[in-house]
């Protein structure tokens, strides 16, 4: 009788492995953030006047601000996606 009880208990302890068929797709990033990053432009060899320099600086600052905003957007995207992922894990 004791042997029977041991066998019954052992059977009850046997676990089953089950593969959970749920996968989460890696999120896509916004299209605007996937565009190539523009480089700063050097001053043209033939343009030596102060207005040319100012014009070039103006364009380069524009490029800088665009890249800055893209970086901020990437950070925001990452934080948001991380939060969403963490909510799924709860």
């Amino acid at each position: 009788m004791n042997r029977l009880l041991i066998i019954v208990i052992l059977f009850g302890l046997i676990g089953c492995s089950t593969i959970v068929p749920v996968t989460m797709k890696f999120p896509d990033a916004p299209e605007a953030l996937l565009q190539p990053v523009p480089k700063l432009k050097p001053l043209d060899e033939n343009k030596r006047e102060l207005s040319d320099l100012l014009s070039n600086v103006n364009k380069n600052y524009g490029t800088y601000y665009i890249n800055r905003e893209k970086l901020i957007a990437w950070q925001e995207w990452y934080k948001s996606q991380k939060q969403i992922f963490a909510d799924v894990q709860k």
Binding site: L4, I7, V8, F11, G12, I14, G15, C16, T18, V20, P21, V22, T23, M24, K25, P27, D28, A29, P30, E31, A32, L33, K39, L40, K41, P42, L43, R48, E49, L50, S51, D52, L53, L54, S55, N58, K59, N60, Y61, G62, Y65, I66, E69, K70, A73, E76, W77, S80, Q81, I84, F85, D87, V88
Partner: protein
């Protein structure tokens, strides 16, 4: 346990509960068979079959419970993933709209500045011409001496 996926929940539960109950009842009855004169010779086979059914029943009950827990958990996670993917898409739309608007504003400001420079070109250039060394230093700063790609 993959074969369990092909059976409906209720049918599966009904079969497993039946095996367990038959085994349990048979095992209990097996203890009292010695007091019943007519079927005493079947006592051992009945006890063996009942014990096998009881053990199988316990095993399958455990498997079934685990299976049901996993099915519920999978359904729960699938629902969460669907919500998360929708949220992720919403976040992307918001960020996309925001960045497009900001880039537009920056480009507009660049054009405004460019027009001011163009309008006041004579005044700006009146008292200054860029020396070669300033030109070189500026371009080195812009492209990091050609080392930055």
């Amino acid at each position: 346990m993959w074969i369990l996926h092909f059976l409906p929940d209720t049918l599966l539960a009904w079969i497993l509960h039946s095996i367990f109950l038959i085994g349990l009842i048979g095992t209990i009855i097996g203890f009292f068979l010695k007091y019943i004169p007519g079927i005493i010779q079947y006592r051992i086979p009945i006890k063996i079959i009942s014990t096998v059914l009881l053990l199988s029943g316990i095993y399958f009950e455990g498997s079934y419970t685990t299976e049901m827990i996993w099915r519920d958990r999978v359904a729960e996670v699938q629902a969460k993933v669907a919500i998360a993917e929708a949220k992720s898409q919403e976040v992307n739309v918001v960020i996309q709209e925001k960045i497009v608007e900001k880039i537009k504003v920056i480009k507009e400001q660049v054009i405004v500045n460019h027009n001011i420079i163009k309008t006041h070109k004579e005044i700006i250039n009146a008292e200054c011409k860029i020396p070669d060394i300033a030109f070189q230093v500026y371009n080195t700063a812009v492209n990091h001496g050609g080392k930055y790609e």
